[in-house]
C-alpha cells in the first residue's frame, strides 16, 4: 500500500481503529509485529531489540492482564494496563541509546588506536629505511674506494705495482749475487797469481844467496891476488851488499804479498758468504711477499663481494620497507571505513529514534478510551516519514568511499 493510497482513503490504522474494541489486543500485537519487521529490515540491531522488547512487554501483559506499573492517569482497566508497556518501551530505548553511545565511542577508540600504532610503525620504518639507505651509500663508497679510491688509488694496481717492484728488486739481488760469485772467482785468480809471485820471490832469494856466495868467493880470490886484486875486492864487496839488500827486499815483498794473500782470501770468503746469503734471503722474501699479496688479493675480493652483498641487502630492505609503506596505508582505509560506518550508525540511530516515536505514539493511541482519528493519522504520517527516511538511507549512504578489497597497491592512470 502506497502513501498516496493512504491519503486518498482512510488509512489502514484508521480503518482498524474503527473496529478496535472488537479485537484490540490482536491489533496491538499485529502493529508491533509490523514495527519489528520494519526494524529488522533496516538492519538495526538496536531497533530490533527495542521493538522486540516492547512487543515482549505487550505480550507478557496480554497473558497476565495484570499491570506491573499501575498508572495514575489510567482511564479504565485496559487503558491503565498499556501504561507499563510505554514505560518499558521508553526504558528499552534509553538502554538502546546508551549502546549507541558506547558503539560510537568504541569505533572512535579503534580509529585512534590504529592511528597511534601506525604513526609509531611509520616512524620506525622511516628510520629503518634511512639507515638502510645510509648503509647502501657506505657500501657503494667503500666499493669505489676499493676499486679506484677516493684519491685515485687502485688497490689492484697497488698490489700489482708492489709485486712488480719486488720482482725487479729480487732480480737485481740475484744479479748482484751472480756478480759476487764472479768476484769470488776473480779473488781465487788473484790468490793464484800471488802464489806465483811468492814462487818468483823464492827464486830471487836463491839468486841473492848465490850472488852473495859468488861475491864472497870473489873477495877471497881478490885477497889472494894481493895488491892487484884490491879494486876487484871493492867490487866484490859491493856485489855482496847488493845481494844482501836484494834478499831483504825479497823478504819484505814476501811479507807484503803474504798479507795481500790473506786479505784476498778473507775478501773471497766474505763475498762468497754475502752472495749466498743475499740470494736465499731475496728468494725467500719474494716467496713470502707473493704469498702475502695473494692473500691480500683474496681478502680484497672477499671485501668487495661482501660490500656488494651489503648493498644488495640494503636494496632489498628498502624494497621491503616500500611494501610496508604500502601495507601501512590500511590505516587510512580503515579510518575512512570506520568514519563511514559511524555515519551509517548515526543515520540508523536517527531512524531507530523515529521508529521508537512511531511505536510510542501507537501505544498512546491504543491507550485512548475512545477512537482518536487524529492520533491515528499522526502515527500513519510518522510511519510514512520513517519509510521515506529508510529509503533515503540507501542512496545517501550507499557509496562506500573505500573500494579496495585488499592492501595490494592501487592502479595508476595518467589522463
Amino acid at each position: 500500500m502506497s502513501l498516496s493510497d493512504k491519503q486518498d482513503s482512510p488509512g489502514l490504522l484508521v480503518r482498524v481503529w474503527r473496529h478496535w474494541q472488537a479485537n484490540i489486543w490482536l491489533m496491538l500485537v499485529l502493529a508491533l509485529a509490523l514495527l519489528i519487521a520494519l526494524g529488522m529490515m533496516l538492519v538495526s540491531a538496536g531497533t530490533a531489540i527495542a521493538v522486540a522488547a516492547s512487543c515482549l512487554a505487550v505480550l507478557t501483559f496480554t497473558r497476565s492482564a495484570v499491570p506491573a506499573d499501575p498508572a495514575p492517569a489510567a482511564m479504565d482497566g485496559n487503558a491503565g494496563a498499556v501504561v507499563p508497556v510505554l514505560s518499558t518501551a521508553l526504558e528499552v530505548e534509553k538502554r538502546r541509546d546508551d549502546q549507541y553511545l558506547r558503539l560510537r565511542a568504541e569505533m572512535t577508540q579503534v580509529g585512534s588506536l590504529v592511528r597511534e600504532a601506525i604513526d609509531g610503525l611509520i616512524n620506525s620504518f622511516t628510520a629503518i629505511s634511512s639507515q638502510a639507505h645510509a648503509q647502501q651509500q657506505l657500501a657503494i663508497g667503500m666499493t669505489q674506494t676499493t676499486n679506484q679510491g677516493g684519491e685515485g688509488v687502485d688497490f689492484e694496481d697497488f698490489v700489482q705495482d708492489t709485486s712488480q717492484t719486488l720482482s725487479i728488486f729480487v732480480d737485481n739481488t740475484i744479479k748482484n749475487s751472480q756478480t759476487a760469485m764472479r768476484l769470488v772467482e776473480r779473488m781465487a785468480d788473484i790468490s793464484t797469481e800471488v802464489g806465483h809471485v811468492l814462487g818468483i820471490l823464492k827464486d830471487i832469494d836463491q839468486i841473492a844467496k848465490q850472488t852473495n856466495f859468488l861475491a864472497l868467493n870473489a873477495a877471497i880470490e881478490a885477497a889472494r891476488a894481493g895488491e892487484s886484486g884490491r879494486g876487484f875486492a871493492v867490487v866484490a864487496d859491493e856485489v855482496r851488499n847488493l845481494s844482501l839488500r836484494t834478499g831483504q827486499f825479497s823478504m819484505q815483498i814476501r811479507d807484503n804479498i803474504g798479507r795481500v794473500h790473506q786479505f784476498v782470501a778473507a775478501a773471497e770468503n766474505a763475498i762468497f758468504a754475502l752472495a749466498a746469503q743475499d740470494m736465499n734471503f731475496a728468494l725467500q722474501s719474494k716467496k713470502r711477499v707473493e704469498m702475502a699479496m695473494h692473500d691480500v688479493q683474496k681478502m680484497n675480493a672477499h671485501v668487495k663481494q661482501s660490500l656488494v652483498r651489503i648493498g644488495e641487502y640494503a636494496t632489498d630492505l628498502e624494497a621491503r620497507v616500500g611494501q610496508a609503506v604500502t601495507a601501512l596505508q590500511f590505516q587510512d582505509m580503515v579510518t575512512q571505513l570506520v568514519g563511514h560506518s559511524q555515519l551509517r550508525l548515526n543515520e540508523l540511530a536517527g531512524l531507530d529514534k523515529m521508529l521508537g516515536d512511531v511505536q510510542n505514539s501507537l501505544i498512546r493511541v491504543l491507550q485512548q478510551a475512545t477512537p482518536d482519528e487524529n492520533g491515528a493519522r499522526a502515527v500513519q504520517d510518522k510511519l510514512a516519514a520513517v519509510t521515506q527516511k529508510s529509503a533515503a538511507l540507501a542512496t545517501d549512504l550507499g557509496r562506500n568511499p573505500v573500494s579496495q578489497e585488499n592492501i595490494s597497491s592501487g592502479d595508476v592512470e595518467l589522463f
Binding site: I122, L328, D332, P401, V412, L414, F415
Partner: protein, 121 residues
C-alpha cells in the same frame, strides 16, 4: 634546486609516507591537511606538483583541483589525485576538474616515484 611537491591529505600517516617517499628521492615536500590548507600552501609556495586526496573535511580534492586551475600559476601544474576512490564516475569527474592523473590508494612508493618523475622529472 629541488622541486617542491604539495601533498594534501587529511590522514597524517599518508602525508608522512608521501613525504618520506618523495624526500628520499630528493624532492622538497610541503603538507596540508585539507583542500583549504592546500590551496593556501599552493598560493604561498612555488609548487611543481600537487598530490591530493579526494575525501577530506573542509574542501575536498575535486574542489581543490578546480580552485587551483582557476589560479593563473596553476593552470598547467600537474595535479595528481591520490585516493581510495576508484570508480570511473569519480575518475571522469577528476579529469573534468583538471586532474593530471589518478592514483588509487594504497600507493607503492616506487610506482609513486615513477609517476612523479614522469610528470615533473
Amino acid at each position: 634546486m629541488a622541486k617542491t611537491v604539495l601533498t594534501v591529505d587529511d590522514s597524517a600517516s599518508i602525508r608522512q609516507m608521501v613525504a618520506f617517499t618523495l624526500k628520499s628521492a630528493g624532492y622538497d615536500v610541503i603538507e596540508a591537511a585539507d583542500g583549504n590548507a592546500g590551496l593556501a600552501q599552493a598560493k604561498n609556495n612555488a609548487v611543481s606538483l600537487v598530490l591530493t586526496d579526494q575525501n577530506m573535511p573542509g574542501m575536498d580534492g575535486l574542489t581543490l583541483i578546480k580552485s587551483l586551475r582557476a589560479l593563473p600559476n596553476y593552470k598547467a601544474t600537474p595535479i595528481l589525485m591520490l585516493t581510495t576512490e576508484s570508480s570511473d564516475t569519480m575518475k571522469s569527474q577528476g579529469r573534468a576538474a583538471g586532474a593530471t592523473g589518478w592514483l588509487v590508494k594504497p600507493f607503492d612508493p616506487q610506482k609513486l616515484l615513477e609517476v612523479v618523475r614522469k610528470v615533473i622529472g
